[in-house]
């Protein structure tokens, strides 16, 4: 105990020593498009879109609390929130277009960050739009619900940018705390309260793992910055240090909890089922994407040299997640639980991108995430459209004969299901995303040497075939099974709100259109890889020539 504490305390002071190297303000570097993150003003500049979102959200928060609660006020706050999301997305695009860069520091300024931000913002826009209709129907009048979504999104944007384990932790907490509250937003539903409490307790538990892992990694390397950790592992040959091994394992457990990878997925179905439907979509799409963005950056930037520690662990996690998610989804009757298990299975596919450990993996990750986000938000939008006050019509038998009552919604749901399945042409982007992922698995590299993961590619195809069992079953229920005579069709014939309809239309059209013309998205994701600081040599531990 004493020895450990003494080991850590002095290294904490290393920051003091490093301070002397900070250049003075007003140095010529200020004019260059490269941010010097040691200077507070340049750090602020590098965080432009994030700041816009946070400051706007704080303003909206004050305004939401200013007026008494009413359905109209909730809607107005929601409208302004949508505009704020659009403005933030415009800022992200402006930053991305200028090809800004930064010296290695606490945050990254690279194309990967902007691409991930755009995916989060699209999901956020859809969530707020769905929430406005959903809140009106469920009698939720608090305008703060939209503000909390905005705050959660700012945590996600921090996660996409963070190059420091402390910022990763804070980003995860900022995102999670807002989402815990959002899960319990529907105060009239005991299930919603149960979901919030379960999510909170298990989330706090997994945060403990994450924090412990970060502390051990700091103890081993004396730094929380990803690039410095990577440099020191390389420089001092820390690959075999037990603190690194244990720290990595704990970090992996923490992230596996957040992305709901098997065997750490137990919380997901209950929480997804109990939370308000738009928030469930937000959790399945954006929260998962943000955790993955930080996950992939940490692994690729800080620990490429200790790949032998984590490669097998993530490999098994990916395979287990694909099988557990897809097989358990086969027996689900509730549409939200079905989509929850589907999203667990999809996390397994995304883990393949992490296993591949290449820049191709990172671009396949972005491509997959874009397709997955659109399909998930589209599917949840249909669920919102078909629901009624008090979260009804969630049993998949309720979808029988939907083709006859609401043909367009049935078609939209089918496209989303086929996209999640990875069906060619009719599934739009989904097929290409899976194809891209298989390619990433086959071109995996470790320490500069190609090591194709054929087994992993086979597993992707095999589990996709299993997943047809539930994705296609829903499609057949909607189109081929007649409506049960006991059930009225009136509930399903209600016209959904305009915003819900537009979310459905936009996500389905984007899925199909980008599926027909994928070149643009392929280029976009291929360019958007993390700007990793290249280290001089990568050597296998057995070679032992490059380590000092």
């Amino acid at each position: 105990m004493l020895a450990l504490t003494r080991g850590i305390m002095p290294t904490g002071l290393a920051a003091l020593a490093g301070l002397q190297a900070v250049p003075l303000p007003g140095s010529p570097a200020a004019a260059a498009p490269t941010f010097d993150l040691h200077l507070p003003w340049q750090l602020l500049g590098a965080l432009g879109p994030d700041l816009l979102l946070v400051v706007g959200a704080i303003g909206l928060m004050v305004w939401a609390a200013w007026r008494p609660e009413s359905a109209g006020h909730q809607r107005r706050v929601g409208e302004l929130s949508l505009w704020l999301v659009v403005a933030t997305a415009a800022a992200v695009l402006a930053y991305a277009a200028r090809h800004l860069t930064a010296e290695p520091g606490v945050i990254a300024v690279d194309a990967f960050r902007w691409a991930a931000d755009l995916i989060f913002l699209v999901a956020t826009f859809a969530t707020i739009a769905l929430s406005m209709d959903y809140n009106a129907r469920e009698g939720i009048t608090s305008g703060e619900s939209h503000v909390l979504v905005l705050f959660a999104t700012s945590g996600m944007m921090l996660l996409a940018a963070a190059r420091d384990l402390m910022l990763v932790f804070l980003g995860i907490e900022l995102m999670s705390i807002a989402v815990y509250v959002l899960a319990g937003l529907n105060r009239r539903s005991a299930r919603s309260a149960e979901a919030a409490l379960k999510y909170f307790l298990l989330g706090a538990f997994s945060t403990g793992f994450l924090l412990y892992g970060i502390a051990l990694l700091y103890g081993a390397t004396g730094s929380t910055t990803l690039t410095e950790i990577g440099d020191r592992i390389h420089q001092y040959g820390l690959g075999a240090a037990p603190l690194i091994t244990v720290g990595l394992a704990l970090l992996l457990v923490g992230f596996a909890f957040k992305v709901a990878a098997a065997p750490f997925h137990m919380w997901a179905p209950d929480v997804y089922e109990g939370a308000p439907t738009p928030i469930t979509g937000y959790m399945a799409a954006a929260v998962k994407a943000a955790a993955f963005a930080a996950f992939i950056r940490i692994w690729v930037e800080a620990f490429p040299e200790v790949v032998y520690h984590w490669h097998n662990a993530i490999w098994f996690l990916a395979v287990l997640t694909m099988f557990v998610g897809n097989i358990v989804a086969l027996v689900q009757r509730n549409i939200k639980r079905l989509l929850a298990y589907s999203s667990i299975a999809q996390a397994g596919y995304v883990l393949v991108a992490v296993v591949s450990g290449t820049t191709l993996g990172a671009s396949a990750f972005l491509f997959y995430l874009a397709a997955y986000t659109l399909a998930t938000m589209g599917a949840f939008a249909v669920v919102v459209a078909l629901g009624d006050r008090g979260e009804t019509n969630l049993d998949i038998d309720e979808y029988a004969g939907l083709w006859t009552t609401q043909p367009w919604l049935a078609l939209a749901m089918s496209v989303c299901m086929l996209a999640l399945l990875g069906f060619p042409v009719f599934g739009g982007l989904g097929f290409l995303a899976k194809w891209y992922m298989i390619q990433a698995a086959l071109q995996a590299q470790y320490l500069g040497q190609p090591t194709p993961q054929v087994m992993l590619a086979v597993m992707i195809v095999l589990t996709s075939v299993i997943s047809a069992g539930y994705y296609l079953r829903l499609v057949t229920i909607m189109f081929m099974r007649p409506r049960h005579p006991d059930r009225t069709t009136a509930a399903l014939a209600v016209r959904p709100g305009a915003l819900t309809e537009s979310v459905v239309v936009v996500s389905v059209v984007l899925l199909l259109a980008l599926g027909l013309v994928p070149a643009y998205l392929v280029n976009w994701s291929a360019r958007s890889v993390p700007a990793i600081t290249q280290r001089p040599v990568y050597v296998l531990p057995s070679a032992g020539s490059g380590t000092p």
């Binding site: 305390m9 290393a14 301070l19 608090s142 907490e173 539903s189 390397t221």
Partner: protein, 200 residues
């Protein structure tokens, strides 16, 4: 390391461990919370022994002070009933299981930890902490990195706290949603106060 130092270390270490054991075995939540205060105080004494007076003082203020007061408030508000009425619903097996895992992990750490060799290049020269403390006091070595190196993390923490407060208000507000919503049946969650009324 002087004999006095060792003596004080073992006294406070023993107090901390014994208090922690009593803390987890008490049935009355208030008694348990007070034993936890004891643990916090002993830990703060250990920090001071490590020349970290500032952390020691913060430990007393934040943990023994603020957090324990909140604990006690929550215990009183929840109104759990008499200690004698409380039943431990956990079986023996999970108790032994979790305890066994904890003991194995602890043993592994105790066996492994002394063998870990820190990289010399990552260590600051000896006495760096003492020199820094003598030059600028015990607070400056904590404050300087906090407001320079970790400035962004510090600022993000303030946003995080803001979100936590907003979230607590949104969830804890008394009846907000029910104003125009009409009647509500039994078993529905409305507000903290009404749940309490049903509970009694």
């Amino acid at each position: 390391m002087s004999l006095f130092y060792q003596f004080v270390f073992y006294v406070f270490g023993l107090v901390a461990v014994v208090s922690a054991c009593i803390f987890v075995t008490r049935k009355s939540p208030v008694a348990a919370a007070l034993w936890l205060v004891n643990v916090m105080f002993s830990l703060s004494a250990l920090y001071i022994l490590l020349d970290a007076q500032f952390i020691g003082a913060i430990q007393v203020l934040v943990y023994a002070g603020a957090i324990m007061v909140v604990f006690l408030f929550v215990i009183m508000l929840l109104n759990l009933g008499q200690p004698g009425q409380l039943v431990d619903t956990r079986g023996v097996l999970p108790w032994l299981g979790s305890g066994g895992v904890a003991i194995v992990v602890l043993a592994a750490v105790l066996v492994r930890l002394p063998r870990i060799e820190a990289v010399d290049a990552l260590q600051l020269p000896p006495e760096t902490l003492e020199v820094a403390t003598r030059a600028a006091g015990a607070v400056a070595p904590v404050a300087t990195p906090l407001f320079t190196t970790y400035l962004l993390a510090f600022e993000v923490t303030s946003v995080l706290l803001l979100v936590a407060v907003v979230g607590a208000v949104v969830l804890g507000r008394r009846r907000g949603e029910m104003m125009g919503g009409g009647g509500h049946g039994r078993g529905e969650l409305v507000g903290a106060d009404e749940v309490l009324v049903h509970g009694r």
